[in-house]
């Protein structure tokens, strides 16, 4: 690595990104630094950590929030709006790594790495997050599901940076549920994750969004499962239909951490448990 750039503001950061598309933008560095130990250093780094324009939580009209891309998990954990309105995200942040990683890792960094086991990603998907991306030419907004284009691939051009994540206000009375199943109780890599949001209307599931992690090449919405549940009363019978739908739409894999059979079985059980809790 020959150059370490630490731009002072967003325009400077975007200019640096445009000038050096081969430099690696680094926020908390918790992913980058691990990967960097086994490979040659990049030609340069653009340090984004602590950049004011990319940090912090602000209110949006209508009750949503805008989260700067370089906001750490620790900041989100201490934010009352997140705790009150998006407990799903709060619960997920609490289980990322352990306190040192939470103090350093950022939401934007997790999105940029886009690992299939990224812990904050299923909540963003289930909460209908919108990703705000900027370049020197301006800002664009993309639904998070569309932003995920493949295994560790996101819809980000070489001159762009992720600048913020917007979360719309959830439906009044919506239930939010988070479950991470990892290899151990803390500092663990996920084997299955489920983020779910649902609300009932007249005893029936009016809307439900289920996002799963570590069961596919990227974080996914279980749309067929959601369809199987929408309009039903939350019952064992509905849960059974949901499980069947889930089996038809995800095909997890065996790896060092777990088995396909386990991932599928646990995902089914978590969906069932969520349905019965509504």
């Amino acid at each position: 690595m020959s150059e370490f750039l630490s731009p002072k503001d967003l325009p400077a950061a975007l200019a640096a990104r445009a000038a050096h598309p081969d430099y690696i933008p680094v926020a908390g560095g918790t992913d980058y630094m691990v990967a960097s130990k086994d490979r040659l250093p990049p030609p340069g780094i653009i340090n984004l950590f602590g950049l004011g324009a990319l940090t912090g939580v602000t209110d949006l009209d209508g009750g949503g929030v805008r989260i700067g891309a370089c906001t750490t998990y620790a900041t989100l954990l201490g934010d009352a709006r997140i705790a009150n309105t998006f407990p799903l995200l709060r619960d997920a942040c609490r289980e990322v790594g352990a306190s040192q990683i939470q103090a350093r890792g950022t939401l934007g960094g997790n999105i940029a790495t886009s690992s299939p086991v990224g812990d904050s990603l299923p909540p963003l998907l289930a909460l209908d997050a919108v990703i705000c991306v900027a370049s020197s030419a301006g800002e664009r907004r993309v639904a998070y599901e569309d932003f995920l284009v493949g295994y560790r691939k996101i819809d980000l051009a070489a001159d762009e940076l992720i600048v913020a994540i917007e979360l719309p206000a959830p439906h009044v009375g919506a239930m939010q549920h988070w479950r991470k199943v990892g290899t151990r109780r803390a500092q663990s890599i996920s084997k299955v994750m489920m983020a779910a949001v649902a609300h009932l209307d007249d005893g029936r599931i009016a809307d439900i969004r289920i996002a799963l992690g570590a069961v596919a090449d990227r974080t996914v919405r279980a749309r067929a499962t959601e369809d199987a549940l929408r309009g039903s009363a939350p019952s064992e019978e509905a849960a059974k239909r949901a499980r069947e739908a889930l089996r038809g739409e995800i095909t997890p894999i065996d790896d060092l951490r777990s088995t396909a059979e386990y991932r599928l079985g646990v995902a089914e059980n978590l969906v069932r448990r969520f349905v019965l809790s509504l």
Binding site: F4, T30, V34, A98, S99, Q100
Partner: protein, 162 residues
């Protein structure tokens, strides 16, 4: 060889100017440039917590922090804990025999001090277990470390109030 960066940090209360290659981690600068060997390298991949230091009062993994990202900041290591007397945390760790092989101890102390300072109150065993989960110990089964941190939190909280 890439050019060295000239970094300025306040390390354990002292202003330090140090030249280091841009790819150096904070751990490498502390251990190899400043001879602060208290911070340990157990895995170099952010998995064990033995390299934990405090950056502006927050516990950080120095093996995953580029030294350049600590430029202009306050760094505290285990060496900064010891004034004339042992810090209450060190004292409790010592008396409770919470340091066995001792290799994880500096990182444990840094993480625990940052946590207790932020809480500024007596904490429970469960809270300690959650707050400290980023620091591995293979000797103790964690029991005595939790004992020591809980006891230190009581002493520190009493001092705050007194």
């Amino acid at each position: 060889m890439p050019d060295a960066l000239l970094l300025h940090m306040k390390v354990n209360g002292e202003d330090v100017e140090v030249a280091a290659p841009p790819h150096f981690t904070l751990l490498e600068v502390l251990r190899y440039k400043l001879d602060l060997i208290g911070s340990k390298q157990g895995c170099d991949k952010g998995d064990c917590g033995a390299c934990t230091v405090q950056l502006d009062g927050t516990a950080r993994l120095s093996c995953l922090t580029l030294a350049a990202q600590a430029d202009g900041r306050k760094v505290r290591t285990v060496e900064g804990m010891t004034a004339a007397h042992l810090h209450p945390l060190q004292d409790c760790m010592d008396k409770q025999v919470a340091a066995q092989c001792g290799f994880c101890t500096p990182g444990i102390l840094m993480a625990a001090e940052a946590y207790l300072t932020k809480q500024a109150r007596a904490v429970s065993r469960d809270e300690v277990a959650e707050a400290m989960a980023g620091n591995l110990c293979r000797c103790t089964g964690y029991v005595k470390i939790v004992d020591a941190i809980v006891e230190a939190s009581e002493i520190m909280a009493a001092k705050e109030q007194g």
